[in-house]
Symmetry: C7
Subunit: 283 residues, 7 copies
């Protein structure tokens, strides 16, 4: 009977350890949920942006949905990591209480851990980068982004990779940690440019007037106004001066990712107007 | 006889250690199998993709087969690693119980391990990259991919390297860890482009009409429709405006990797149509 | 009763530890606030700059506001870090006093910590870079900056990333740690250049006179003088000498980011003046 | 006599240690031989490749020979490493039993080891890369490969470097660890291309017919068929469309590394055929 | 009373520790001041340079001032670091004497320290680079330098960054650690070059004479001699030989950063002289 | 007297330690000599090479000399390193036996060692690279090599750097560790190429005949045959096909580094032959 | 009195430690001086070089002076490092003997040391690179060198940086550790090249004769022979063969850094000779 007492004590101790581990794990999970939610709602860089950006009022519901998804994605990995730490600690503590020597185990795992640790840097880098990208809401599914390695429409974002589809239909998987800078073309507005090189002996004032008229008509066009173009187009004076040409520029602010369309329309109209006015383009 | 007792105890201890090691190894292997299978089935990035992608219903069996193979490839390495850790720990524990000093052994192995660990980073990086590529099903045998170092058809994927064959018949072995981004041309659709530069004095409306007719005929062609081209081709207006030419673009969405074929057909038809309409190409 | 005494002592010890931790945390927070404020006010590189720079007197209030914001941004991260260290230490000390073995916990956390530490380097690098950028006030919201990866107007600065919007409306997120050098176009003044290539047989003196007159008129223009141009424009002599052309240069110091506008105006006037003087541009 | 007893015990202990070391060393060597042989025979990436590749049946003996050599090369280094670890451990254990303090020795060796370890990374990287290259049989002596730094015929492969001879007779030594991707031109087949630019006003159908005839004759040529060319050559339609030319392409699958020869023959025949048909090449 | 004795002893011990810490700190600060001053005065690379350089006698006072500022900048960081080490040691020793366990604190701080240490490498690199730049006096405020990332006039130098303003008015912040090489244009002298391509059939001797005369007149010009140009300009013979041109070069040593001005003057004079001599420039 | 006994014992112990150190050092030196010699004689990559290479029989004596020198160079560094380890260990052991505490010494040396270890990586890399280069006999004094950073004749090889002299007389010092691949032009043979572009309307057969005759005469030339050219030159058919030219190629295998000479001779003869045959080169 | 005995013993121990430290420091300094001197005198790479190089006999005194300076530069840093190690060890030992706990001090210094160690790698790299550059005497003050980042005349060499002045008068500070390869133009000889493109229909033999005569006259010129040109110039045959030109090359070996001067003289003479012979240069 005397030999049962320590056994019993050991069993009880182990039970307590395991119960405590479960409790701690749950507490940590809840903490993670709360921190992640608060972070997703209060990201400083996003917060300020939304205030200054255009056309953000009507899409609050969408943003809320996106925010919730982001919080879940981030939380899930953190929860896994927390569970592994808590369970690992509990197992080691139990082994210790059973007076089983854990040094050999730690040695094996340690050597392996160091060997893998070096190689896993990139992986951790990808995850950390992905977590902050999500936190800062740099882009979401459907945005057209330039991540350096590829330009295209975002089809999926995970903590490790971003999946884009470019204009040729190619699907790109880009590791988040390799993205040093992201250019998002879908936020606020885009700008359409058309450069118009006319012959050197053209009259500056006349060309400017013709182009201004084109710009004005574009702005008045009911199909384009405000549903595509968000500000009256502007004509910039002589952008370049050479022996053979004067370069004018017409520029229009459009809704995001609509600039190619507007530029095409502008080119057609500019050509027609120059033809009508008898102004030759630079040879 | 008294001297046998501790010997016997030692033998029993060792036997228990070895048996426990085998049990733990089996448990860990089963755990790996389960985790890998679940991961292969529920990869978030693939999951979302399959829903939005085109033409994925009829190939579910193929995907299932691929999924099973991927799970096996991933599981086999993890099982090896787990076995080495468990066996190593068991051996060290046995040596410890036999009161054989393990410090010298650990010293030798440790120095070697550090020396190798630094150099093996790349290897570990390759394996980790390969594991996640498989997990996320970024590409499979038969896909045409752009991995930066080479573009070609995937012939084999292992955890360390991907084997491609490019259009010239060259076989490329690319280490997975050196692939920062992958462009997969075999997912969903591709796009065929033909740029048509016509003389500056051409009439914009006429050219557009001619090209639209070519596009329409291509789409009506029973040999191409839906078996190659997946959407009616589109004619984009003036893409570029210079003193000597106007550039139009005809664009068609095709089945994956069929774009070159469609573009060739488009060029033949565009040339014929322009010749018929008497429109000169830009000099 | 005798068994209560040590329990009571333990409870009191723990209470003291926790109270001390709170006190230390508050002290450290106050210290951080003071240090950060002093640093924000006395950055040597900014201090010297403000003295030599132009047009800095009227914007002191703005700078003060910016300084306060910067101090808050910097302080908030440092406070978080300090809190984690103090709380972590307190928890470990309490566990130690409760004679709970903390070695297994440290082992788990340590292995994880090393694994993450390697991958988190970039993150720490970003934060450190961001902290010093803020401290040195290299740029603020509204400045036009060139950070290598992108050029545009700063929309937000956090410790980890800087958000820019470029001229095309693209929004760029650039990690602070990847910015090796920053070019700020919004400090002090900018310079507008126009290169004027004239035919080789032009008379050097005549051309110089014509250009000087253009420069003088620009400077006399009441709309531009001092509200845009901050110094009388200068004409540089023959910048390049080839068989076919002589290149002159007109240069004007303007308010920051106004150089394109002034250069355009200059080009229009230079063309008119050369036409009047009958001087041909280089073919 | 009493003082001899411990001495004798020590001597016996040392003898046992040394004998055990020899036994362990032999066991490990045998294990290495078995593992390496199995790996060389069952490399997954090679296995799959051989099934799909062309012309592999008759060269099984050659491959077997190559496999044996590879296994030897790999095994020899692993055996050396294993010997060093076993002998080192034995020496340290003996010193320990002789109660000679080994800490100073370990200190000296350790500091040196760390210093060298950092620098030896590249070396270890080279060896690991070489081992996997051999294991996966990426290339062998006689193959024409593109290793990035050089393109040429492999003359020798060791675990550290690969020796190539390029077309100019230059001998290249390339460290295996610096080879991120290998392009092997000697596996399966190569492709010969000839681009034929004809004048814009040529008739598409006529040119295509002429080229198809050339392709057909090449395929019928008994000297080339199947001993050099492995598939009937194909004529691709208009590959490029400009104002001045139409580009056609003739393409033929050949035995590995024979593509230049076939392309030359094709060019001679295409020229003759175009001359006969009176079709002008694009100016 | 007996319980006060150890308390008193502890208090006294702590007082002694703190006093010693202050004394050591002061000693170290004085040591730093002395070492930094000696280093600033006796930098070998600067020392040798000043002897060989031109125009250094009259600016000794300026250099002395600069030297003093540099010594202060360097000393201030070193003093901060020394203070932190001394205070940290004192605090840990006091805690130790109070029998407060410091292991948990060290653990927390250590994990944080390693995590930050990796990321702070760049920062330390910047500071070390800055310290040596100052020590070697590579450049000072007002110098025109090329630091790779940017070229411009130095506006401020701190230990971490250098602030330049380029010719366009852009302000550049360049981290000192990213500057691998510095080109300082403000030390000693600069050289102005003008390349003169003349027609192939020009007489070599005649052209050389004309150019030598221009060079001689420039040197005789009282406005330029020695106040701008520091050596008689030299005419180099045929620098390039092609079918259409012979290229001569006129070169003049000027005061630092005055080369553009001299080159402009040279071009005007060369053109006039060639026109007078009826020598055509190369077409 | 009793106090002398331990002193005497200590002295004897120290003497034994030092004597043992000398013996061990000598043994290790001999071991190094034997290992290095065997390695220099049996390098696998060189061994195989010599068998396949050309013209290696008569230069065995030279190679033997070179081998001996290489063995010496390699052995000397290894001996230094071994001596330092043995002496360091002996000193530490002696200090330990004298009961002098070595921890402070180890601390000082350790901190320094780590600090230097990081920076010395490159140095160790250079030495390891140099050792293997020598071992594999990649190049020797007098060879013309391309090491990436420079191309030239090897003038000296040490373990750290290789000294080359390029064709302009510039002497290059290249660190061995920065050489990722070496191209040795002095092994076996070189190839001389001459590309001959003829007018598009030339007769393919005629041109080929003319060129074959030139090639035959070159081969028959007693001054060149076998003393410079090692194989009959070959004429390759149409290498390139454009609207304006046909490109033929004549290629000759020469002794190493003699290709420029042969190519020059070929060009002179080809020009003469084409002139004689009245064949125009492509315009 | 009894309490003085241990105090006295402690004082004596400390005195002995300090005296020993001074002795050891002096011994180490002497050892450094001897090793550095021997190294500077017996650098293998320089040694061999001097034997083969040209014009080295008369400058032995200069080289000796340079050698002495180099030995001093190298020795001074090593002495500093040795002093710091010896003094640090002595201080720690004294603290230990005074039973002052050194663990807190080591902790503070250690954390700081690791933090700085990472960042100081570059510095150590620079110093090691500088030390070996000096040891191998790669270049000295006055040599014209190409260090990749800049080309110019060496003005100063320290262990950390090399100071160059380029042809434009710019002063470059290049960190020694960033110099992967050095090209020294001032050792032995340089080569002057002039490429002479003549019209395609020129007679090869005539052109060669004309150029050979120019070369011969240059060599006979008493002003140039041996004081500038060190070998008779050579005329290389047809270096390039195109439809429009034949390229000949005249090449002359000159004293170091005199090649530009000789090439200019050659061009003037070649032009005159071709004009005289009525040979046109290629159009």
């Amino acid at each position: 009977m005397g030999s049962f007492a320590p056994l019993l004590a050991t069993v009880i101790t182990i039970a307590i350890i395991l119960i405590l581990a479960l409790i701690v794990r749950n507490l940590v999970h809840r903490l993670i949920v709360r921190v992640v939610n608060r972070a997703a709602n209060a990201s400083p860089i996003t917060g300020r942006f939304r205030k200054n950006g255009a056309a953000t009022d009507g899409i609050d519901a969408l943003l809320n949905e996106r925010r919730k998804q982001r919080a879940e994605t981030m939380g899930s990995v953190l929860k896994h990591v927390a569970s592994i730490v808590v369970i690992g600690t509990a197992v080691l503590t139990v082994l210790d209480r059973l007076t089983i020597p854990i040094a050999p185990l730690l040695t094996s795992v340690g050597i392996l851990g160091v060997a893998i640790g070096f190689g896993a840097q990139e992986l951790v880098k990808d995850f950390i980068a992905g977590m902050f990208m999500l936190l800062e809401d740099q882009y979401g599914v459907g945005d057209v982004v330039d991540v350096g390695a590829a330009v295209g429409t975002v089809e999926a974002v995970t903590l490790r990779v971003t999946r884009l589809r470019d204009a040729d239909g190619r699907v790109w998987y880009v590791r988040n940690g390799t993205i040093a800078r992201v250019g998002n073309e879908s936020q606020g507005w885009s700008r359409a440019y058309v450069d118009v090189p006319v012959a050197y002996d053209s009259d500056v004032a006349t060309v400017r007037d013709v182009l201004r008229q084109v710009a004005g008509e574009l702005w008045e066009d009911p199909e384009l106004r405000e549903s595509v173009i968000v500000e009256e187009p502007v004509v910039f004076g002589v952008e370049q001066l050479s022996d053979s040409s004067l370069v004018f520029r017409v520029s229009a602010k459009t809704l995001p990712v609509r600039q190619a369309e507007v530029a095409r329309e502008l080119r057609v109209r500019v050509k027609a107007a120059l033809d009508d006015a008898g102004i030759a383009m630079a040879p």
